[in-house]
């Protein structure tokens, strides 16, 4: 009877695989080195965890099938068993080893995704400011002098550095197929480093609840060749209207809008809150690894190598 409990998760996994049409899940369907690192980390952890589950489940089934009252002679009285130092040390030490391994993997991979992407080290990153306001995303390209709303185009062969902040509640910037998420807050700028290996259109969204139209807060990320990107940026610069302060204020107040493009950015009259991170994490700014990879020529110090 108890075995049903064990079959459940397996059955569910099987069922869900069929129902989801065997398409790879978004987090595993990676299109860039950052997401790839995370996907590998997750798969590794799933394998380790499956092993632990297996050990527990085998023991569990063994105990239940062997020691149920109906299997025991009628006069049987269980013995007193204080414990076993040997066993208890074993199941303390083995998990500690597993945790140690996973800790090393964690620190290594966290460091890797927090820095400029492997394979793109000697290219200067394209900086894009991504700021959120209720309930939309603004993308400012200082290099190109353009700004978009609710969609972002990026070139494929170049590292990208997103600088995130918010004009309101905390949001979380997330393009699952390219990188993990990071908060955008009103009082500081946070950064995501990523790169796209393949051209394509990827879903991006805010994943941190920020009020009424939260569910609507999606944007499209279009990865295209450098040539297409340059062409697009030039067209926007040439054909789209300028983003004036008045227009921007009005835009901030509108709750849900479609895509928009402008031939200037809001950064000139409303700069990003770029302050040191020490306010939150207590780390000194000098040591802050985020700032290192912006400095040309310092890529050699990248911890991820």
């Amino acid at each position: 009877m108890k075995k049903k409990v064990l079959i459940m998760p397996a059955l569910m996994a099987f069922m869900t695989m069929i129902l989801s049409g065997c398409q790879p899940l978004m987090v595993f369907d990676t299109k860039g080195p950052n997401a790839k690192t995370l996907s590998n980390t997750i798969i590794l952890s799933i394998i380790v965890m499956a092993f632990i589950l297996l050990v527990v489940y085998v023991l569990f089934v063994f105990m239940l099938s062997k020691y149920r009252a109906s299997k025991q002679p009628s006069g049987y009285e269980p013995p007193h068993e204080e414990g076993s130092t040997k066993l208890e040390v074993t199941w303390t030490v083995i998990p500690i080893i597993i945790v140690t391994v996973l800790s090393i993997v964690t620190i290594f991979t966290t460091s890797k995704v927090e820095h400029q992407q492997t394979g793109y080290e000697n290219k200067k990153p394209l900086v894009i400011y991504a700021s959120s306001s209720d309930w939309k995303w603004h993308f400012s390209y200082p290099e190109q002098g353009i700004e978009t709303v609710n969609y972002v185009n990026i070139p494929t062969d170049r590292p990208i550095e997103f600088r995130l902040y918010s004009f309101g509640p905390i949001t979380s910037f997330w393009i699952p197929q390219l990188a993990g998420q990071k908060y955008a807050m009103s009082d500081m700028v946070t950064k995501i480093h990523l790169a796209a290996d393949q051209e394509g259109s990827y879903m991006g969204r805010n994943s941190n609840f920020n009020g009424k139209e939260f569910a609507q807060m999606e944007f499209e990320t279009q990865a295209m060749s450098q040539a297409d990107f340059d062409k697009w940026a030039k067209e926007v610069k040439a054909n789209e209207p300028k983003l004036t302060e008045a227009k921007f204020k009005k835009l901030l107040k509108t709750s849900v809008v479609g895509r928009e493009s402008f031939s200037s950015t809001h950064l000139s009259f409303s700069p990003a809150p770029e302050m040191d991170m020490s306010k939150h994490s207590g780390e000194s700014n000098k040591k802050d690894s985020h700032n290192m990879d912006n400095m040309d020529g310092m890529e050699g110090m990248d911890m991820s190598k």
Partner: protein, 647 residues
């Protein structure tokens, strides 16, 4: 605030319906009590009681009602997201519902259910006559009850909080949440939190000071140990919440800028304070459940607990670590690799003592004689299901990987895989286990088992798909999604699972009625052939708990005494001193309810009036002389004989 605004929520037909059913229900209860002339009985026996067992029962009753309120919220959420682009609930309503669902389930269901069981069982397990401060205990209960009441009326009057149960700033500030909903949040949590803090102090004192002679710390039953550690966590964690909520109130109602976007306010300060309390809170609801599982598994394997010392040690380690991991709730805030790395390690370390406990439970069953009673089924189902919650917790603990799970349904699946088998199965195991102790008859096993299967199977069907959906990029707290995301089929599966769970919970309720009518009454006081002291006295337990306080020589003294044919409760009766009932906790909490309610609406004159009334109660109490009363030997003899079924 105008009447129109005040009753704005009633414009929703669903809320109007709920309001009407609440009013009709209340009228029916009042009419029933009046018709059967039960007001006096209710007031004398329950509302003014200082008896820990009755207070425990009231906690559990309110927790069960809240389980249904939170459960209906859950069903509505799953119904809304069962198909893409559903129009059952609008965004506003969905946001209120997931906020109150989270709050109610954690603060007004899980924790009080646990505290209720602690109230019923802990003094009995340590052979005490009562808790250390019986009247404070009644106050704790009533503060919790009015806190729950406050949150529940927000739904009808003024509007529910809708910024999530974590109420992150600046979203929860007046700038982005202008209504009174988050004032309700602050005050319902504040007032019930004060009650919880008092419980913490009360139970630490009780367990440290009131154990039966000979019961050294290392001879205490595991549930009492878990209660002790939990109450220590409460005493350290709740002051943080009190301060954070006070700052929230200052920000929202007095214009300070602790967490604001301007004037140097720090949004993430709230997140830090909230989780410095919030993470230990998770262990407040899970450790006592671990205690319950220890009792149940060893009782129904007919064996002593394997590795008692390491079970205690692991709980102590978990309680220490629980204060050192809060940052794992926002790895994505943008601190460096070092900070995230350190918190990843402390978080993963919690898996080690937890694993020790799992293996100790498994080994407790080795060489045992396992019987599958309803409480044992709940404890057994916990092991494989909670392990899934545990290993996914380790996955989430890895900061890098969490960048992909954070704020997704993967996280929602994880914490339900921890909280439902941990806390909910735990309290259900305890509820079925101790029911005969409290009421003197057993719950029907057949109904209990069918409820079990509905809930366990339904749970997996409802929550396993959420892991998959999360990995497919489904963010939590979304009231709807488009069809081309492909989330539809699995969301429907999840809804069906939630429906199955609802059937299970309905069966649990029906079981109360059925067993009350049909179960034979207990006369032994020890229906399960159990191990700890609470089974050494009569069922239902007399007011004074033990006619003779037992002496303890070892762990599971009662069990070994039974085997050796000793009676540890033999001896000569003496008169027993007991505290008097008091209406003050009830009335004072009522006054504090009005104080909070008017504070929510910034009605300052009335706030001051009720603040003074509260202080008046305290002043009155400090001059009051109440010596309690004695129960005479003749009365004890009569009670004992009656409970033993003698004439």
């Amino acid at each position: 605030m105008s009447m129109d605004e005040l009753f704005a929520p009633m414009k929703e037909p669903m809320i109007l319906g709920a309001a009407i059913s609440i009013v009709v229900g209340a009228v029916a209860i009042v009419a029933g009590l009046t018709y059967f002339k039960k007001w006096g009985w209710l007031y004398k026996n329950w509302l003014t009681t200082v008896d820990h067992k009755k207070i425990g029962v009231m906690y559990i009753l309110v927790a069960l009602v809240m389980l249904f309120r939170g459960g209906i919220d859950a069903l509505l959420m799953r119904a809304q997201t069962a198909v893409p682009e559903n129009g059952l609930l609008n965004a506003e309503h969905y946001n209120e519902i997931f906020t109150t669902h989270g709050l109610i389930m954690i603060i007004f269901m899980a924790m009080p259910f646990i505290i209720g069981l602690m109230n019923v069982v802990v003094p009995l397990q340590i052979g005490a006559r009562d808790v250390a401060f019986p009247r404070l205990n009644a106050l704790s209960f009533w503060l919790f009850a009015v806190g729950a009441g406050l949150l529940n009326i927000s739904f009808i009057i003024g509007g529910s909080p809708n910024a999530g149960w974590s109420a992150y700033f600046p979203l929860a500030s007046t700038e982005f949440s202008p209504g009174v909903g988050n004032n309700y949040y602050a005050w319902s949590l504040q007032i019930s939190g004060l009650g919880t803090l008092m419980t913490g102090i009360n139970f630490i004192t009780t367990i440290m000071k009131m154990r039966a002679p000979g019961m050294k710390l290392m001879k205490m039953p595991m549930f009492t140990w878990s209660a002790l550690i939990t109450n220590v966590i409460i005493t350290f964690a709740f002051p943080v919440l009190t301060v954070a909520l006070a700052m929230m109130t200052l920000d929202r109602q007095f214009g300070t800028k602790f967490f604001a976007m301007q004037d140097g306010g720090m949004d993430m300060l709230w997140a830090n304070l909230f989780w410095v309390w919030g993470h230990p809170e998770v262990y407040i609801v899970i450790l006592p459940a671990f205690g319950i599982f220890s009792e149940v598994i060893s009782t129904f394997s007919r064996k002593n607990l394997f590795g008692y010392k390491s079970m205690v040690m692991s709980m102590v380690v978990i309680s220490l670590l629980s204060f050192m991991v809060w940052v794992h709730h926002f790895y994505t805030m943008g601190h460096g690799v070092m900070v995230n790395g350190i918190f990843s390690i402390t978080t993963m370390l919690i898996a080690v003592p937890t694993g020790v406990k799992i293996f100790n439970w498994l080994l407790t069953m080795r060489h045992g004689k396992i019987t599958f009673t309803t409480p044992m089924l709940w404890a057994l189902a916990f092991v494989p299901i909670f392990t899934i919650g545990g290993v996914t917790g380790v996955m989430l603990a890895m900061a890098s990987a969490d960048y992909q799970y954070h704020n997704t349904l993967f996280l929602v699946a994880h914490f339900h895989y921890v909280l439902i088998p941990g806390t909910v199965f735990g309290v259900l195991a305890g509820y079925h286990f101790w029911w005969p102790k409290i009421f003197g008859f057993r719950l029907n096993e057949k109904l209990g088992k069918s409820a079990f299967w509905f809930i366990v199977v339904g749970f997996n069907v409802a929550f396993f798909p959420l892991f998959i959906l999360g990995l497919d990029g489904y963010a939590r707290r979304m009231y709807t999604y488009s069809a081309d995301t492909g989330y539809g089929p699995l969301s429907m599966v999840s809804f069906i699972g939630a429906l199955a769970m609802a059937v299970g919970f309905a069966l649990i309720c029906y079981n109360i009625y059925y067993s009350f009518r049909h179960s034979p009454r207990e006369t032994t006081g020890d229906p399960w052939d159990a191990r700890s002291l609470e089974w050494a006295t009569q069922s239902p337990v007399p007011e004074y708990n033990f006619a003779i306080v037992p002496k303890i020589n070892q762990l599971d003294e009662f069990w070994y005494a039974k085997k050796e044919g000793r009676d540890i409760t033999a001896g000569k009766y003496e008169r027993i001193h007991m505290p008097n009932n008091s209406g003050a906790p009830l009335w004072m909490s009522g006054v504090m309810f009005l104080f909070s309610l008017f504070f929510v609406f910034s009605e300052w004159t009335l706030v001051i009036v009720f603040a003074i009334a509260t202080l008046g109660f305290m002043a009155y109490r400090s001059f009051e002389n109440d010596e309690g009363h004695y129960i005479e030997v003749a009365e004890i003899e009569a009670t004992e004989r009656r409970l033993r079924g003698e004439k």
